[in-house]
């Protein structure tokens, strides 16, 4: 299975993602933001980081970079595109997924482990996962998901909410919402469910001795779903 990770100026989770994808069997290529063409891929990942120094709005400059036109075309033709953290911010700026990510509610950079609950397994990312609650890591300043009332209704009606912040038992409550996101939303899909944007980092949870294994579970399942 072939994957591509896009590196923007200021990306800093691109190599972590490369390590994670290779560990679980992907033949991964790193792709520079200034390239025109995507290599043949089964999965494209927009990694975390601080592309373009978060100038203007997080992800806004990266969303206009050269390679993104190919990524948008790939997504529109049904290809799997996953944006993690800054990658999620880039996805919302392209309009591939609805909404926007605002500054965290209490104006602090949040760096900690969180639990997330899967809402929808009818998609290539979570299908066949034998867990509903996963422990991932978050590290962001702008992860406060916001959308208009009309958009919220639409994403609910279309089952586009991918994951919610919750506690270890899967309770989705305000006290487990780290950043003020509407309805505890941590990740969302596009209408067709081939594009996934989420703030948590599964690539930071691929080693039991360093962190945890829930990322391993996620990536193993993902490659099996794509095969």
């Amino acid at each position: 299975m072939k994957s591509s990770v896009i590196t923007f100026p200021g990306s800093n989770c691109d190599r972590d993602m490369d390590v994670a994808l290779k560990k679980f069997g992907f033949n991964n290529k790193m792709v520079w933001h200034d390239d025109n063409e995507l290599p043949k891929s089964d999965l494209v990942v927009l990694p975390g980081g601080f592309s373009y120094g978060d100038y203007l709005r997080c992800g806004s400059m990266a969303s206009k970079s050269k390679i993104m036109q190919s990524v948008i075309n790939f997504a529109k033709s049904g290809g799997l595109v996953m944006g993690i953290c800054n990658g999620f911010q880039i996805l919302v700026e392209t309009g591939l997924v609805p909404g926007v990510l605002l500054r965290n509610k209490y104006l602090e950079f949040i760096c900690k482990n969180v639990f997330v609950k899967l809402d929808n397994k009818e998609n290539a990312y979570f299908k066949n996962l034998n867990k509903d609650i996963l422990e991932f890591h978050i590290a962001h300043n702008e992860g406060n998901y916001f959308c208009t009332k009309d958009q919220l209704k639409e994403i609910k009606d279309n089952n586009q909410i991918a994951i919610y912040y919750c506690n270890s038992e899967g309770k989705i409550e305000d006290q487990y919402n780290p950043n003020g996101s509407i309805k505890n939303i941590a990740g969302i899909f596009n209408k067709e469910k081939n594009v996934l944007g989420m703030m948590p980092h599964p690539e930071r949870m691929i080693d039991q001795s360093l962190s945890g294994e829930d990322g391993s579970i996620f990536f193993k399942n993902l490659i099996n779903n794509i095969k």
Binding site: L56, S60, P98, V100, L102, R103, N104, K105, G180
Partner: protein, 80 residues
């Protein structure tokens, strides 16, 4: 000619930075404030002499990059 664009957050979008600035101003003795909202200001020198054309170009920029219309409004002002 120079055209300015002011980007502001829409009314129903939370502006935590504005809130903190409000609190700080309050603490400094500026008590007669009901709300502070923070925004962005751009000054763009467009190679165009026709004001309406120059404004139209900046409007297009606002829609495509400078503002995110999910959360922000923009206002265009001809400055020179």
């Amino acid at each position: 000619m120079k055209v300015s664009a002011i980007i502001t957050l829409k009314k129903d979008v939370l502006d935590p930075q504005g809130k903190v600035i409000h609190q700080a101003l309050d603490g400094m003795g500026f008590e007669n404030i009901s709300e502070v909202r923070q925004g962005k200001y751009f000054e763009i020198d467009v190679n165009e002499n026709d004001p309406s054309k120059a404004k139209a170009v900046v409007e297009d920029m606002c829609k495509k990059l400078l503002a995110n219309l999910v959360i922000e409004n923009f206002k265009i002002i001809e400055t020179q």
